[in-house]
């Protein structure tokens, strides 16, 4: 690769990162700080460390769907046969009632892709925090 082409490629990468998306394999890298603000939208029903109208979020990534002890899930969520990873969370958060018809999470979803990425980044970071280690 010529120096000019290499410089052009590097510039392209730099622009992609600067665009805030940090695009890798079609996924957005979220900003946990921005995601914390998005998480405030969940406060009517969710908390990190304890079950509310919705289940707690500590330990969400890597957890089997519908598996928090003591939480009464919908039949639909109990039947959801997957582990929550970033990709699955992204799908679910975009349109919960479409991805899990019959879910009790009666919410339109987080429609903005970057906001979802930020929210997932926050949940991932919070899951590793001291607060969540105890829960």
């Amino acid at each position: 690769m010529s120096i000019a082409l290499r410089a052009q490629a590097l510039l392209g990468i730099a622009l992609a990162v600067a665009a805030g998306g940090a695009i890798a394999k079609g996924e957005l890298t979220g900003d946990p700080k921005a995601g914390e603000a998005v998480y405030a939208r969940c406060f009517a029903c969710h908390a990190l460390t304890y079950n509310r109208t919705g289940p707690k979020h500590c330990g969400l990534l890597g957890r089997r769907a519908g598996s928090v002890p003591g939480f009464q899930y919908s039949v639909a969520m109990k039947r959801a046969n997957w582990i929550w990873d970033k990709k699955m969370l992204d799908r679910f958060l975009a349109n919960p009632m479409k991805v899990v018809p019959g879910t009790t999470m009666g919410y339109a979803g987080v429609k903005d892709r970057k906001e979802r990425a930020d929210l997932i980044a926050y949940l991932e970071q919070a899951g590793k925090s001291d607060v969540c280690r105890e829960h």
Binding site: R41, C42, T53, T104, G106
Partner: protein
């Protein structure tokens, strides 16, 4: 559960008219809220039923989700009121807001039943972070957090309700939750309305 709204005994002198006028306005305002809410529920229930079982079922899930959050809010305000941390007039404010949530919950439960669904019940026990509530400000911040979440929840409910009358009723509740949030922020000495748009 009572559908009556608790009598507000707010001490916001600047917002009060003469006592007689206030009593009359308060009575009319509260009666109007209850009647219009019930009317919305009944009318919306009939419309949604007429649209078919699938539509009503989807709306039932959304409304039951909101009902669950309202029931938790009622319990949260009860914890706040009984904490001994709230002083008048903030205590009165909390009781008034709890009354609003009771009215919301009653309306939602009636509507879910009207649509052929089973309204969710209050949990026997709610987990609240009571160990972090040490002062009146802590309780207010906790309540404000719940109210802001409620605004977002209703914002997320309005566009997916198939029945437009139900969406209108949900938007009406959203407005009430937003006012709660603003007043609680104001009581905390924060900007009551910090943003032009909610999300």
């Amino acid at each position: 559960m009572s559908s009556r709204i608790q009598t507000p005994d707010t001490s916001f002198a600047l917002l009060h008219d003469a006592p007689e006028l206030e009593t009359r306005r308060s009575f009319l305002g509260k009666s109007g809220l209850v009647l219009s809410g019930a009317a919305i529920a009944l009318l919306a229930g009939r419309d949604a039923l007429a649209k078919g079982k699938k539509t009503a079922g989807s709306d039932v899930n959304v409304l039951n989700s909101a009902l669950g959050a309202e029931l938790e809010a009622i319990a949260a305000y009860q914890v706040g009121a009984e904490s001994g941390l709230l002083q008048k007039p903030v205590l009165d404010l909390a009781v008034t807001f709890q009354g609003h949530h009771k009215a919301h919950a009653d309306l939602l439960a009636q509507t879910v039943a009207k649509l052929g669904g089973k309204p969710v019940s209050a949990k026997e026990k709610y987990d609240f972070p009571v160990d972090t509530l040490k002062t009146q400000a802590d309780v207010l911040r906790f309540a404000a957090m719940l109210e802001k979440g409620a605004v977002s929840a209703y914002l997320g409910a309005v566009p997916i309700l198939d029945n437009r009358d139900l969406a209108k009723a949900a938007a009406s509740i959203l407005g009430d939750e937003a006012m709660h949030w603003a007043i609680l922020r104001n009581a905390l000495g924060e900007a009551p309305v910090p943003v032009a748009f909610m999300s």
